[in-house]
Symmetry: C2
Subunit: 206 residues, 2 copies
DNA sequence: TTATATACAAACAAGAATGTATGTATATAT
DNA sequence: ATATATACATACATTCTTGTTTGTATATAA
């Protein structure tokens, strides 16, 4: 076999990751073997073991590739100064995520894997913890935005910003799950934005 | 070995199911072997294969045991005639589920398995379809209740019953997921009812 | 009372899947 | 120019896991 150049090696690494994503999606993480992944990437398990420690290692590589940036983007759109009112800011920050999901196949597939093609036990339960902590962080940011909205007298209701934030967060989580599970997109995927808009309008004065 | 009486056999069958639930919960469905399950039930794989075709068969037995009744109960509380107003009816139908989850350990564990300890591929993707169809059925029922609420002029907002129902359904789905994932109960589990009440109050006039 | 089906245990065979060890051609550093 | 580390492929050993087969004691039906 030929020794590859560094760039070549990096390409194989990426091919392995992409193959793993496809295989995980099709067979679920547990039923995917390194042989499956290697075959899909047109390499041998030798190459896989060269680049990764084991299957869990590949899983984390996939996750880091698309999951972490997303959190950041959502974080930014909630925190950064903006000339829009706080409620619109929340609305946009939610929409951003679904734009990403629509435009970025890899992200969409990764989400699907994380949500319905992975079992959160042993090594993977750590991932769950991370997701949880991200959730509470996002809820916190949303709460701050609702507090600003309250200060600007934009809210139609007398609920606390915390209650509103939790409700929004739960709505968002539910929508994410349905977005993924909704195979043909008829129920939720095609109208995600309208649902978000409607959710926010529910608490906007007038 | 002794031949058991029919009642004895039924007991072992139940012991196997209960053991499978515990093992699935601890190790995830994929990593659970029939040997694990048998050992936990203090029988051999022979007994397991006598009562069930394979692991998937046990999975469905667990699911049918607690999942199907729940759908019915929720269905009932939304559909049956009641002397409460429609909004309270929706609120109660959601609360019923969380009462069940709190009181019924088996149901709680089953939910956890279905949501984060199972990969929805191959045979299991059928289960996902069923869940989806149950969801749209429930959303339909909620929508009808919101229509009644609108007719009685109970709604604070000008949104359509459909939009309200979808929003409620997504909220509920999100809450279910968080309820399960929230390991120590601090974030959501302990305040599920308050969140539901708050969610419904958001759309109640005055 | 006896034959048979039941309710398992125990043993067996076969195939995956994993991790590691070894081989090797070639970039690349020196 | 050569030594070495790199980037894999190949082969091997081991461990699980599964499904099936066989054995067997005993409820139960006749």
């Amino acid at each position: 076999m030929v020794r590859k150049t560094k760039e070549d090696a990096e390409l194989t690494r990426k091919r392995i990751i992409n193959s793993a994503r496809a295989v995980f999606l099709a067979r679920g993480v547990s039923r995917s073997t390194l042989e499956h992944i290697a075959a899909h990437a047109e390499v041998t398990r030798g190459a896989v073991y060269w680049h990764f420690k084991n299957k869990t290692d590949i899983f984390h590589a996939i996750r880091d590739q698309v999951f972490l940036p997303l959190i950041d983007r959502m974080d930014d759109s909630l925190t950064l100064a903006s000339n829009e009112d706080p409620l619109t800011q929340i609305e946009n920050s939610l929409c951003v995520t679904f734009d990403d999901l629509n435009n970025n196949i890899e992200m969409r597939q990764t989400y699907e894997i994380m949500m319905i093609k992975c079992e959160y036990v042993d090594e993977f339960s750590l991932v769950l913890q991370q997701i949880l902590s991200n959730c509470s962080s996002i809820t916190g940011k949303i709460q701050l935005a609702y507090e600003r909205a309250e200060a600007q007298n934009l809210l139609a209701c007398k609920h606390t910003p915390l209650a509103l934030a939790l409700d929004t967060h739960l709505f968002f989580g539910g929508l994410l799950h349905m977005w993924v599970k909704d195979a043909d997109g008829s129920m939720f995927r095609n109208q995600a934005k309208e649902l978000i808009k409607s959710h926010i309008n529910l608490r906007r004065k007038q």
